[in-house]
């Protein structure tokens, strides 16, 4: 069975710290993602099929949440419940851009923790690439965002919004939101694996945090809150995207790229960190 010409793979597990360099393990983490891309895809398809196979409406459910949100904002706008004045942008469209990006971010931040919890029995028994399992989350968040955008485009046409060439930049904004969410999730993952507080806290956080970003209203110009919002990494993504969509101005691209780059770095660091932390987590999760 063993080919004598092939070098035998020797695996060693020992006590004490590992010996790989930070950069080496960072690259290894990304390489791991790439090697196991097929597995990520298979798991993504599994979850997608499973979610809708057990339901009567099936894939219709994919479109219902964005549709519902959109309808709510249209109604609120019609009945003048929300006060908002910008002659250029119909309010529902303004909110739609914000919520699409926000929900991409939100999904990508919450899903990895859920996937981790659900897959604990597998992690505890099989040595499998954690990254490949978690990568299903950003993929799913991206997929949901695309559907959301499809629904939103109908609304755009309905309101007769003009098509800007800078619309082509929207995928960059969506991808950045997803990366940012995934980075946040990975930052929380080690603690979330040990303490149930994290997941509970995250739900609470997101229900409040939507108002800490310019999702449903424009950012204030002055004050401490304006200062805070400026530092929120989601802010430049949303503001730039509105410019791209409504004004045809390619503004804020460096900021968005900076956020995306930072998120990718954090993702790499955390994935490589999880490779170190995983044996300890498995031992303590006691499964």
């Amino acid at each position: 069975m063993t080919d004598p010409t092939k070098p035998v793979r020797i695996t060693r597990y020992q006590s004490g710290p590992g010996s790989s360099s930070p950069l080496g393990s960072l690259l290894l983490a990304f390489q791991d993602l790439w090697t196991h891309r097929e597995m990520t895809w298979i798991l993504f398809c599994r979850d997608l099929k499973a979610t809708f196979r057990g339901s009567l409406l099936g894939y219709v459910w994919l479109f219902l949440p964005p549709l519902a949100t959109t309808v709510v904002w249209i109604i609120l706008n019609r009945s003048r419940v929300v006060a908002f004045s910008d002659p250029d942008i119909p309010y529902p469209l303004f909110v739609l851009v914000g919520t699409i990006l926000w929900s991409s971010f939100n999904r990508a931040a919450v899903l990895p923790l859920q996937i981790f919890q659900l897959s604990k029995p597998v992690f505890s028994k099989l040595k499998i690439p954690l990254g490949a399992f978690l990568a299903v989350a950003p993929l799913r968040a991206l997929f949901d965002s695309v559907l959301y955008i499809l629904v939103a485009s109908a609304v755009f046409i309905y309101y007769g919004a003009s098509l800007q060439t800078t619309l082509a930049l929207v995928p960059l904004a969506v991808a950045t939101s997803v990366l940012l969410g995934f980075a946040v999730a990975l930052l929380l993952l080690p603690l979330s694996a040990l303490y149930a507080d994290v997941q509970q806290g995250l739900v609470l956080f997101f229900s409040v945090a939507i108002y800490l970003a310019p999702v449903v209203y424009p950012p204030p110009k002055t004050g401490a809150f304006a200062e805070f919002m400026a530092w929120n990494p989601v802010t430049p993504v949303i503001l730039s995207t509105r410019d791209w969509v409504f004004h045809g101005q390619p503004s804020g691209i460096p900021d968005v790229l900076l956020v995306a780059g930072g998120a990718v770095l954090v993702i790499g660091l955390m994935l490589s960190g999880m490779r170190t932390a995983m044996p300890h987590l498995t031992a303590r999760m006691g499964m």
């Binding site: 069975m1 063993t2 035998v8 793979r9 020797i10 695996t11 060693r12 597990y13 020992q14 006590s15 004490g16 710290p17 590992g18 097929e38 597995m39 298979i42 798991l43 599994r46 979850d47 099929k49 499973a50 196979r53 057990g54 897959s119 029995p121 597998v122 992690f123 505890s124 028994k125 099989l126 040595k127 499998i128 080690p190 603690l191 040990l194 303490y195 960190g273 170190t276 932390a277 044996p279 300890h280 987590l281 498995t282 031992a283 303590r284 006691g286």
Partner: protein
């Protein structure tokens, strides 16, 4: 630094140790501590400051060594049986071997591919069909879609669940789920080091035999570590046995019978008395016939197929007489494997009137029992009323010594083996 230069040693464990903590909150905190230490490149918490590389860390409060100073090697073609009571550390060792958890002391070295029949059906989603789940499970086990496609027919044939392959897994019986999971693992896994954790107890007997053959095929050219509580499997499969006790090696031997014997001794046989209490067993000693040893220590050993005798002293209220005495031999799992009805015995008036006494040496004949640990039940029954003055369980625990365990409560060698002469007709 190569630990071993011998190419055939596929598993090499040196001074393996793992600390666990009984207190949950503290355990989680220690986990955070360990992760930080590992990130920073520091030695594990509790390592003495002036110590050399590889010295053992101390325990933190509420910690204990779940596995302590375990060293062993497994060569290609060997199968090491890991046995011990629950919580002895067997699974912890397996988890360290598969790299799921990190040793706190010592090291493991593995040569070649490591695989196991663990977590059968990992990743199965109940709503997906068996066919779809095969791809998911195979992918988790490290196969590409193409490889799974190539082996799909073999998997389907092995699982042998017919048209259910295209039905959602939630409509499967639990046995069918396991069959499918096992089929994927068995067809996909081609390891040099094979880890098995209680996997053979799946499906019906026909499937178990199929599994057994598959495992044998896999094991033929690899180093196997086999965890089971079923001593028959251990005896059938293993070339070596390691008995674990409280995280340490209790016995490590190539003599399977001896190893299993050591495992059996980990359990004590509690005496329990039922019945009206009008009879009392005062002494019960079993020993090989003709043996002069007087002790009734739990270490009584009888060679398989040897004659044995039971010394039984009992007291009974005279009003109960006449009574019958029935003896049973119970195995480790308290299943009766042998019965001696109407054992001849005599009662004599005891010194205090109103009670009778019996001192009998009962010839039990050949004990052609499977290797293992046994105990005796003595049951008295009144002839007139059918009432039970006493039923005493857990008497005279003894071990049947055998080199091998077989599948059956009674073992009789018919091949003229001089060490096991045929009993006279």
């Amino acid at each position: 630094m190569p630990v071993s230069t011998d190419d055939d040693v596929l598993v090499d464990c040196r001074h393996l140790g793992k600390r666990f903590c009984r207190d949950l909150k503290r355990s989680l905190f220690y986990g955070v501590q360990d992760i930080i230490h590992d990130f920073m490149g520091w030695q594990p918490v509790g390592t003495p400051k002036d110590a050399q590389q590889g010295s053992r860390p101390s325990l933190r409060p509420h910690e204990f060594w779940a596995v302590e100073d375990i060293s062993f090697q497994v060569r290609r073609g060997q199968c090491l049986g890991l046995i011990g009571k629950n919580g002895a550390g067997k699974t912890t060792i397996l988890k360290m071997l598969s790299g799921l958890i990190k040793p706190d002391h010592g090291q493991v070295e593995l040569r070649g591919r490591v695989g196991g029949l663990i977590a059968l059906g990992a990743g199965f989603n109940p709503l997906l069909t068996g066919r779809e789940n095969v791809y998911v499970n195979g992918s988790i086990l490290g196969m590409s879609r193409k490889q799974i496609e190539a082996k799909f027919d073999a998997i389907e044939a092995f699982a042998d669940i017919g048209e259910f392959i295209d039905a959602p897994v939630q409509s499967y019986s639990s046995g069918m789920q396991v069959r499918l999971g096992f089929a994927v693992a068995a067809v996909v896994t081609k390891p040099d080091v094979l880890l098995l954790d209680e996997v053979l107890a799946v499906g019906d007997m026909g499937f178990t035999m199929k599994c057994l053959n598959a495992v044998r095929e896999m094991a033929a050219d690899s180093a196997v570590i086999f965890v089971s509580h079923n001593m028959q499997w251990i005896s059938t499969f293993c070339t070596d046995v390691m008995v674990m006790r409280n995280g340490r090696v209790h016995t490590h031997t190539a003599n399977i019978g001896e190893g299993i014997g050591a495992y059996m001794e980990c359990f004590d046989t509690p005496v329990s008395v039922t019945g009206s209490g009008q009879a009392v067993v005062e002494v019960a000693v079993i020993r090989p016939r003709g043996s002069t040893a007087a002790s009734s220590a739990p270490g009584v050993e009888i060679q398989q197929g040897d004659h044995a005798e039971l010394h039984l002293n009992a007291m009974i209220d005279s009003s109960c007489l006449p009574v019958t005495l029935t003896l049973y031999v119970l195995d480790q799992g308290l299943n009766p494997v042998m019965c001696f009805p109407n054992v001849p015995h005599e009662w004599r008036q005891a010194a205090d009137s109103g009670r009778h006494q019996s001192q009998t040496c009962i010839q039990l004949g050949r004990l052609e029992l499977n290797g293992g640990r046994y105990s005796i039940v003595a049951q008295f029954q009144e002839v007139r009323t059918s009432k039970y003055p006493a039923r005493v369980q857990g008497l005279a625990p003894f071990t049947i010594k055998a080199d091998k365990l077989y599948w059956g409560p009674m073992i009789r060698h018919l091949d003229g083996d001089p060490t096991h002469p045929l009993p006279p007709a």
